[in-house]
């Protein structure tokens, strides 16, 4: 079960971070996000990702040269127009794609959003941790950290990369004392092994910054995009987890986390 090698995986993502410093490469923007962080959120789906998750619902966000570029100031203006809906909890979430590929630009975006009193969240796969990412995390009110699997072999199987950096990002975030939510995609037959769910829980149970863990039920809504891109969707025979399976996973996580939410 190996991700087929294709041209996308060798893409150099450096230009995403360095070229056009005032522009963000964006896949799309959803003004009414209610599942990516607290409250109502403007969710920016950043373009470009180096993970190759088998169940990826947005393979059209992989290509670092895809999407469209939008000026950071324009995005800030959009967020300001939406601010009355954010209430006490809402704000802006940058998801993707993998947002940290554009960390220097997001630092600028988040700093500007904070200047306007707008809450920021970053939904990241935790691939990268360097000084620039650390600076970005310092302007990130909520880190939504996707832990795809606790076992590194399975992580490889699911994403084509190691999970070591993910754990390091979590460790770093914990050291800063700023809040974080874990997100776990439950894929039947791939990420539902009880022993690893327990290991994940045990690993994180003493983290003080983790406010909750969200179980994201695997779904097939993105499968058609793979076919449209000429890629084979390997999980087409995998059905979404049953309510029972979700509850069972939630029960395991509840032994370790103060809040478990099925998203």
């Amino acid at each position: 079960m190996q991700i087929p090698e294709n041209w996308l995986i060798h893409q150099d993502a450096t230009p995403l971070n360095e070229n056009d410093p005032d522009m963000l490469r964006v896949h799309s923007i959803e003004t009414f996000g209610t599942h990516d962080g607290p409250g109502i959120r403007m969710v920016i789906f950043a373009q470009g990702c180096q993970f190759r998750c088998l169940y990826c619902a947005n393979p059209d966000t992989w290509d670092v040269k895809g999407g469209t570029t939008k000026s950071i100031d324009e995005i800030v203006q959009m967020a300001i127009k939406e601010k009355p809906y954010f209430g006490k909890n809402g704000g802006v979430t940058v998801s993707g794609g993998e947002p940290t590929l554009q960390r220097s630009k997001l630092l600028q975006l988040f700093t500007k959003l904070h200047a306007h009193g707008i809450n920021t969240a970053l939904d990241s796969n935790g691939k990268l941790l360097n000084d620039e990412v650390k600076a970005l995390l310092s302007e990130t009110d909520y880190l939504l950290l996707d832990v795809k699997h606790f076992n590194d072999d399975w992580h490889h199987t699911l994403t084509a990369v190691s999970n070591q950096s993910v754990l390091k990002v979590a460790e770093y975030r914990e050291s800063t004392g700023k809040p974080m939510w874990l997100r776990y995609v439950l894929v039947p037959g791939y990420s539902d092994q009880e022993e690893y769910l327990h290991q994940l829980g045990a690993h994180f149970k003493n983290y003080l910054t983790i406010e909750k863990i969200e179980i994201q039920p695997y779904h097939l809504l993105g499968a058609h995009k793979w076919e449209a891109m000429g890629l084979e969707y390997k999980l087409k025979d995998i059905k979404p987890p049953t309510a029972e399976a979700l509850q069972k996973t939630a029960a395991i996580f509840k032994q370790y986390f103060k809040e478990v939410k099925i998203n």
């Binding site: 003004t31 009414f32 599942h35 409250g39 109502i40 954010f86 939410k261």
Partner: protein, 745 residues
């Protein structure tokens, strides 16, 4: 209920004791409630048994072509019918429009031929005695058409002006029904008699008419006393306890719906008023919370069985047999206190105790300072029942000047007891645009409607040229619209005067004359397409446009894009300003709505292809909504576009409907409730005026389309009101299903 054991606490006195002033009474005696929904109770056995009887009757009604029975012999008046009951021994609040549940009465003064036709469609023959009456007297419909001119008739038959209340009652007027409970009929009669005596001096036409009107109102109040006596009630005096207060208010409303079958017959803003009586009885231990809820449940039940006799054609514009018993709940006093009381909650609770329902049309006057407990309860009720709508309290109270208001018809502010409205349906804007593109000819048949529109020079459309032509067309449409409205309301006053409602309104009230425009989103998108893309008109052998080729992209209304949203604003402002250039009957003040009711389907059928790419016959978006599927940046961007339409140009209301699946509001019930509250706070902070909230899923609607019998109470919000889904026509049902659902999750 216990019997009255001790003397009630007296009400705080003030200006209301010296003159008719319900607002002052409420202000001085209200007990605002800042808590949550915990205190609410379920229905009593009596309530449930009564409601089951009603549900069984409604099922029979649906099986019989939507009409259970008609009394074709008796012209309905306040006292025309013997008392009617659901199950007399169980009823805490009594009174039906006729002597039997769901039996419809005839009110032929709006138009006897329409009544005859409506009865015939439902298999009934109008009594010859009734027909004979109109050999000697005139009805509203006949009178209006006697004064119409060929131009108005042409605009009407070609669908440029539609739904005009020229063959049915205009409705919209809201009596201040609280007055009967607070003062009793005798005091109201005395006040009207004093008013009549004061109409003196040089007797102008206005004053003579006013004297006659006040005399009619006094007559109506006397009839109301008689009607009360038929039910064993002494309405001559004020209500003395909560049960009487509810009963008295209902009797005043019942008189209105016995005498009139207006398109919309709103209730006003009675919940806060009634709460004062309920609070006093609770404090005196005369009633318990269970009794209080039972009074409201049974009152609301009565409002749910109000019926009028309508022809099939009426259903095309106002689908689902609506009555618009609109009750406004919540909002703020001018002094900053909330108007939310426990009875505000009790009204919403009826949607659980009796199940979802389109009527009464419960309208929450939203204010970002409303108590959190109330906000959360509203959101929860919306998510569970899709039966309530929201309007911007701050926006309306500040712009219109009083905190004592109800909602007339769907969405329109109406100060209670002080002003009234003349209803005027709406003009078809996209059809007006097509007149502008076809040298004043109607796009389907080529009939010349307007003579002063120059031919378009090139089939590749030029924005400035089209806009100039369109404005010329609007000027003409408005001119004819105003003529017809003056005729209609002159005749309605003369031949079908609402004496029972005006009896509960100050003598010689101020008047708003409410015009409307449909299809604003098509206009915005069409003009944006012409401005930002290349639009080529395709014409047939008569030179009439049959389609438009669009090359390139253009900004679409519903994405919070100023380039297009500003066009919608500009046209609304232009249309409104044109209305103000014309004289009005009784010096009424023009207002405008961006509203369609359900006529967006019928308008679509009558309107050719438009430059935004909409094909001939396709429905318009409802109200001020963006067109289906064009708002692609999510619900907030869509709301923001609509919120940009300025209330000052559309004080009759800017209707917006938001439909979404529950999951798109959030993952958990708590998230969903809080996020819906945030949507409402946000939309109204952005100065949005009105929002219908539907929380449904498409599968439920598809199933209800296929198996209506499984969903007797499925309620959805449509432009400005709610309907029972299965009572919509199949084409309306499909249009609702096709609407934009915000399904992101």
């Amino acid at each position: 209920m216990k019997t009255q054991e001790k003397i009630s606490v007296p009400f705080a006195e003030g200006a209301w004791k010296k003159a008719i002033n319900v607002k002052d009474f409420v202000r001085l005696n209200v007990t605002p409630f800042e808590g949550d929904a915990q205190f609410l109770t379920g229905p009593t056995h009596a309530t449930l048994q009564l409601w089951n009887t009603c549900l069984a009757a409604m099922k029979l009604e649906r099986e019989q072509n939507g009409c259970l029975d008609i009394d074709t012999e008796t012209i309905s008046t306040i006292t025309s019918h013997a008392p009617g009951f659901i199950e007399k021994d169980l009823e805490k609040i009594v009174g039906l429009q006729t002597d039997a549940l769901l039996k419809r009465a005839i009110k032929p003064f709006g138009g006897v031929r329409v009544v005859e036709g409506a009865a015939k469609e439902k298999g009934h023959l109008l009594s010859y005695k009734v027909k004979e009456v109109f050999d000697y007297v005139k009805d509203h419909n006949t009178a209006v058409f006697s004064a119409y001119d060929p131009e108005i008739l042409k605009f009407r038959s070609k669908g440029i002006l539609t739904g005009l209340p020229d063959n049915y009652a205009r409705g919209r007027i809201i009596g201040d029904y609280r007055r009967l409970a607070l003062y009793g009929a005798d005091a109201l009669i005395a006040a009207k008699q004093a008013d009549k005596l004061a109409i003196d001096g040089e007797l102008t036409e206005h004053q003579i008419r006013l004297r006659e009107e006040v005399s009619d109102q006094i007559g109506a109040l006397q009839s109301i006393k008689e009607m009360g006596a038929m039910y064993g009630l002494d309405l001559s005096r004020p209500a003395e306890n909560a049960q009487e207060a509810v009963q008295w208010v209902y009797m005043a409303y019942l008189a209105a719906v016995k005498e009139q079958d207006g398109a919309a017959m709103s209730l006003g803003n009675v919940s806060t008023f009634l709460d004062i009586f309920i609070e006093r009885d609770l404090a005196d231990d005369i009633i318990t919370e269970i009794d209080a809820q039972e009074l409201i449940d049974q009152f609301v039940m009565k409002l749910r069985v109000v019926r009028h006799l309508r022809p099939g054609a009426y259903d095309d514009i106002f689908a689902g047999d609506p009555t618009w018993v609109t009750e406004a709940i919540g909002g703020h006093f001018e002094d900053g206190r909330t108007k939310v009381t426990k009875t505000s909650f009790r009204f919403l609770q009826t949607l659980y105790n009796l199940g979802p329902s389109p009527e009464p049309n419960l309208t929450v006057l939203w204010n970002n300072e409303l108590p959190e407990g109330f906000k959360n309860f509203c959101a929860q009720v919306s998510i569970d029942t899709s039966s309530i709508q929201y309007e911007n309290d701050d926006l309306m109270r500040n712009a219109r000047g009083s905190d004592d208001y109800g909602i007339a018809c769907c969405v329109s502010y109406q100060e209670l007891g002080k002003r009234i409205q003349f209803f005027g349906a709406r003009a078809n804007l996209p059809k007006s645009l097509l007149l502008a593109l076809n040298a004043g000819r109607e796009e389907n048949e080529g009939t010349v409607i307007l003579k002063n529109i120059p031919a378009i020079k090139s089939d590749v459309l030029d924005y400035n040229e089209v806009l100039a032509n369109f404005k010329l067309a609007i000027k003409e449409v408005v001119r004819v619209y105003c003529k017809s409205m003056n005729i209609i309301h002159y005749m309605h006053d003369k031949y079908y005067y609402e004496k029972a409602q005006l009896a509960f309104i100050d003598t010689d009230p101020g008047i708003d004359i409410a015009y409307g425009a449909a299809g604003i989103s098509i206009i915005a998108d069409s003009l944006a397409a012409i401005k930002y893309a290349k639009v080529t008109a395709v014409r047939n052998e008569l030179g009439l446009t049959t389609g438009f080729e669009i090359e390139g992209s253009y900004p679409k209304y519903g994405n919070d894009n100023d380039n297009v949203d500003v066009i919608a604003q500009e046209i609304s402002e232009f249309f409104f300003n044109e209305l103000n250039t014309h004289k009005t009957y009784k010096n009424a003040k023009p207002t405008m709505s961006l509203l369609t009711i359900t006529s967006n389907v019928m308008y679509g059928k009558m309107t050719g292809a438009t430059p935004d790419g909409r094909l001939a016959g396709e429905p318009f978006a409802p109200g001020a909504n963006p067109m289906h599927g064009r708002d692609t940046n999510g619900a907030i961007a869509s709301l923001n576009s609509v919120a940009k339409l300025e209330y000052r140009y559309a004080q009759d209301g800017i209707s917006n409907t938001m439909s979404m699946v529950a999951k798109s509001l959030g993952a958990t019930p708590t998230d969903q409730t809080l996020n819906l509250v945030a949507v409402l706070d946000g939309y109204f902070a952005k100065k949005g005026h009105h929002l219908n909230v539907n929380v449904l899923n498409r599968e439920t609607l598809m199933d209800a389309y296929e198996h209506p019998e499984k969903y007797p109470q499925l309620t959805i919000r449509v432009s400005g009101y709610a309907v029972n889904f299965i009572r919509l026509s199949k084409s309306h049902q499909l249009e609702v299903i096709a609407r934009t659902f915000h399904e992101n999750m």
